[in-house]
Symmetry: C2
Subunit: 744 residues, 2 copies
Amino acid sequence: MAKTADKYLCVDPWKIIEDGFHPQRSQVSESLFSLANEHQGVRGYFDEGYSGESLTGVYLNGIYEERFTEGMSYKGISNRLAFMVNTVDWLYTRIEVDEEILDLAKSKFSNFRRELDFRTGELQREFVWETASGKKIQLIFLRLLSMETKELACQQIRVTPLNFSGKVTLTMGIDFSIQHRMFAENFWDCPRTADRAILGVSKNIGHRLFVGMKIYSETEQISIEADKFVGVRLDVDTVEDQETVIGKCVALHTDRNPAQALDDAWERGMSQLQASPKKYEDVLKENQVYWGNFWAKSDIKIDGDADTQQGIRFCIFQMQQTYRGVIDGANIGAKGLTGEAYNGNAFWDTETYCLPFYLFSNPTAAKALIDYRYKTLPQAMERAKDLDCDGACYPVATIDGTESCTLWQHASLQFQPTTAVAYAVWHYANVTGDKAFLQLEGAELLIQICRFLASRGQWSPNGKFGYYAVMGPDEFQMMVNNNAYTNYMAKRTFEFALNVLDEMNLSTRDCSPAELDSWRRMSTEMIIPYDSKTKLYEQHTGFFDLPHVDVDAIPVEDFPLYHHWSYDRIYRNDMIKQPDVLMFMFLYNQSFSLEEKQANYDYYEPRCIHESSLSPSVHSILASELGRHQEAFDFFRFATRIDLDNYNRNTGEGIHTTSIAAAWMNIVYGFGGMRSDGNVLSFKPSIPSHWNGYSFQVTYQGSVLRLEVEQSRATIRVTDGEPVSVKFCGQLMNVNRDSVSIEM
Amino acid sequence: MAKTADKYLCVDPWKIIEDGFHPQRSQVSESLFSLANEHQGVRGYFDEGYSGESLTGVYLNGIYEERFTEGMSYKGISNRLAFMVNTVDWLYTRIEVDEEILDLAKSKFSNFRRELDFRTGELQREFVWETASGKKIQLIFLRLLSMETKELACQQIRVTPLNFSGKVTLTMGIDFSIQHRMFAENFWDCPRTADRAILGVSKNIGHRLFVGMKIYSETEQISIEADKFVGVRLDVDTVEDQETVIGKCVALHTDRNPAQALDDAWERGMSQLQASPKKYEDVLKENQVYWGNFWAKSDIKIDGDADTQQGIRFCIFQMQQTYRGVIDGANIGAKGLTGEAYNGNAFWDTETYCLPFYLFSNPTAAKALIDYRYKTLPQAMERAKDLDCDGACYPVATIDGTESCTLWQHASLQFQPTTAVAYAVWHYANVTGDKAFLQLEGAELLIQICRFLASRGQWSPNGKFGYYAVMGPDEFQMMVNNNAYTNYMAKRTFEFALNVLDEMNLSTRDCSPAELDSWRRMSTEMIIPYDSKTKLYEQHTGFFDLPHVDVDAIPVEDFPLYHHWSYDRIYRNDMIKQPDVLMFMFLYNQSFSLEEKQANYDYYEPRCIHESSLSPSVHSILASELGRHQEAFDFFRFATRIDLDNYNRNTGEGIHTTSIAAAWMNIVYGFGGMRSDGNVLSFKPSIPSHWNGYSFQVTYQGSVLRLEVEQSRATIRVTDGEPVSVKFCGQLMNVNRDSVSIEM
């Protein structure tokens, strides 16, 4: 991995700080300084407008549009792209002095500083503007999204003339005319406006989004209306060295229901606006309390590595901003709510990379993620039908539950999203013991998934069962037979489903004995390509016979390969993009011997080029387990700072939300050695050699477990709740509030 | 194969005849009654216009347009579609009596009859029109394309009022406003018009097409001009029971040069018009002579099977209409010049299905087909570069030599077009002994093709050479490794190239010893999946392990599978669309033992669903060789009448020109048992049990060989030219003008 850091932010344990403006990185900063509260996400763009490189992006979870693509139109190929649509610039501000309009791409300014504080979710930006005539004005912009009332958002602007007294004109408003960048198109109509309120209706889907505002200012407010815009003008009489504060509080209301009557949408938005306006300082206080509570349960502290400390807190903060289970039907897009790349769609990343963080910090949110799949079961069953199959096939990419991946070679061949849902059911049930969920939603999900797996699989001429013409998680082996991951996950899914149905005596209610029996045979006869001599799982039938590519010999300028290699060339050698065999060895970690893990790691790691940002973390966790601590740290190094240091050179498009979920796993599963795939939660910590220590908490069976690891010893205790049984450094123990330390 | 005939034409040995109009089959008839002369093709649409289902289509060989498709834009994926564009309705006629306009979709008429005569290429259509007021007019429409002067075309209209005397108004003209059906768009601008002449320039490519006309009539001609149209009005005073004849002669001139100055294009067209106008009868006479000479050398006569007799002559007639080697840079589109399906693109069909007909009837035309590939070598070398390869990669579909297949899974994975060019070089040289060609064009083609094959192939971990991520000719196995066809053809291509270069001492001029040596090793180490016990070639590595599908159990309504099965479902079983292993056993027939052919036929035939119209013929030829005569006839049955009886239900889109080329092969290679892949031409005839006899001629080494086969014996002799050595029923002999008969 030839990735290099582009580091420009100041290091701080609780903040990200840009000291002095970096215009070449303007869009990277916009992504990094994004605010979100699950309901909405706002890129860190400049309130006052900016004619340089910028993406004015405000995205709402579950508010999407659609587009139909030309191309292949065979059965089972989806030509409909659903995408999280850019909505409304509610921070809209223009500032004018002596007919000169402030624009940091053109204006003279100094003392630029921008900070985002993880303890409050407050974004602050300040600088001194010097006009052509030499007037100097200090400006401070603050913004906040309420974590208490998710529809509520605040802006504050502080203006201090430093060498004059006189008029400063501000225009502040709500602008629905912004473009969705990816398609250079605006997707909103505004059928109704009023003084300081406007209703947007998205063009094709018809999502209703009400935005109303209240401006706090002592200056007279002159209303302005324009196309898709409402606002006010303030001619502020400022006095030298005196700060004038202008505040704006907005309500962004939507019921995420395109069928809603427009009057209803308007009225409900208006009530929200009237009920909830709060002053900036009040929201700030509430947020302080919210984030304080959160960090008390979810902080990871690293002693002796300031970069990583900042990085891991950034990751955890972003995870919590993006998703925390407060909106019905929300999911986690690959870029969270910070950009348009991947169209805001959710992938299998949700179940495999994000779920563990919630499982061990907020099980309710974890359950809500699985509920999303349960609610979209009808769409998954429709999709299975499109593929000439039974049961439920979960989409590769989705916003509304339908398949939104228009490349058939992914959408028709990749089934890890489907097995990941079954895995999530199992993982959730295994960790929480939530039988009620298993009995209802869980069992139904499992039955429909098994039906799909039974109908998509095929019997080989010699009586074995497997999956043909598939792509596993590794997207560099396109259309293969008996991908070990797909087959193994299907086998485990059948086994789990049969157990659940059997245990709960649900079998006879929903499935015939013949159907259950067929699943049993499929599971037993599943082809798992494995060489018992070498202990190697073959990634798919024939993988070992593929031409070899020395991945270290590929010139750096060839990356990313998708842009530089002929498309077909990527798919005809033994190079892999991301873990596939190692992936199921991670997910069902305790089902494999250390020797097996070692053999497969040694074989597959050198063949992996990590072109997916999901790749290094899994390698790091396994390297830790194999005692290769430096290698583990090298893979981990990127994880926490992938966006802060723009390792993949595309953070400008949005942060790698689902990848940074793995940073948490890297600490907890990697160095902490936690394993959640057995009957009992276990820990086997290690520590990078240059750290003094680290600590983390996990919420488990209603209690909070705290682990502290130093170079010479590891300590565990319960900080909240009842004692719990865990395995700690190989010893099964009942952990209570008393610390247990073990020398390492 | 569950194909049924939709027979509605009268049987005649030298004509196709529609007796009474079949409006439900109007577009099928338009395809069948197409005229062509390689330069242009005219569908059998009604001169006078028709508001029912119709495609007014006039296509010129090598006159194309382009279109860029949305979709995947990775390296090596072509997004440019070149298509043979619909051009100009030069038969434009409207007929009016008492303000009633003739339209067979609405008018009352009787005695409809339409005939196309293979001995003249004349299309005649007649009927009696009865107007609303009861006036009856007999109308006869005739049309002809000159085989002597390819730019020349004639129309004749004969009008006879049967129960009145009075005015019949005809509007006749040249109409450039017709739409290309596939894209519902007109692709022509007309920058210059004059009285009775118009210049069309195609919108994107800029092809120049001049069309001028001369009208032969005693009535005054009133000029009409409209958008993209020139014409005349004739108010004809007709007399009861007297025939009035109106003639039109047009010149369609193009130099197929988009860079040509417009004035040049106009002047050259005008000279052509002024030099070549001929009366209808003169052209008819010339055509009679042309076709008489042609049939004398190329007729196939079948005694005792009138359907097949008509069918085979239709096929041969269409082949000769479509292509005969008179235009520089022409090729044979999948639908010839009869429709827009397959965009008028040429495929590997040219080399594998069409070439033999020309090789054995018109070797100059055969050479011109190979010259087309030689002239487009630069485009094939560009294409190889796009695929990160060296040398020349020939396009899957093309008009102008560039890749026009926008589906990467075909364009980037199928290499039979490339090996087919090498095969054609070999086949042509083997049959004609043309060393001069081999020395120049042949050697260069082979070198560039070998360079491609060397760079696209890969070495396996155990030191064998092969092709990974390919699709063979069988398009139901998409992305496989070591497709036996691809590998075998590549091996033979390397061997042939090395021999040619060695024999001609060309090696050192163009290739280094190291390069030649690498080809030698690749050829020697080529992976050819073969089981010596069963004598089966495995279609690709792993084919024998694929899930089995009983193709006979697939419901008829599932066909064509591309329309009814989920796209991916087609590609994950042991069903094949068309011959793959059997294909190379056909092409290099004498390199395999009868036992091998039998074993592979027995294995692959039951797995083949013949969804390609190219499929049955190869099976028929091999079945003949294996002595399975009824099976051979059953496969052949469709071949000659695939379009006449609309077996595939899509003849309306155009006739299956390249497939019907195989009808000729079915007689000559199949029943005639001819083999042209050895050192000497050989024949081993058989005869379907219900035929009395059949005969055919082949042109070979400058002589015409005639074979006559009856139930009990086969006779061979030379009818023109010097004696030639052939193998006849197993005996090597020198055949001269004396008949040699052998009892069968």
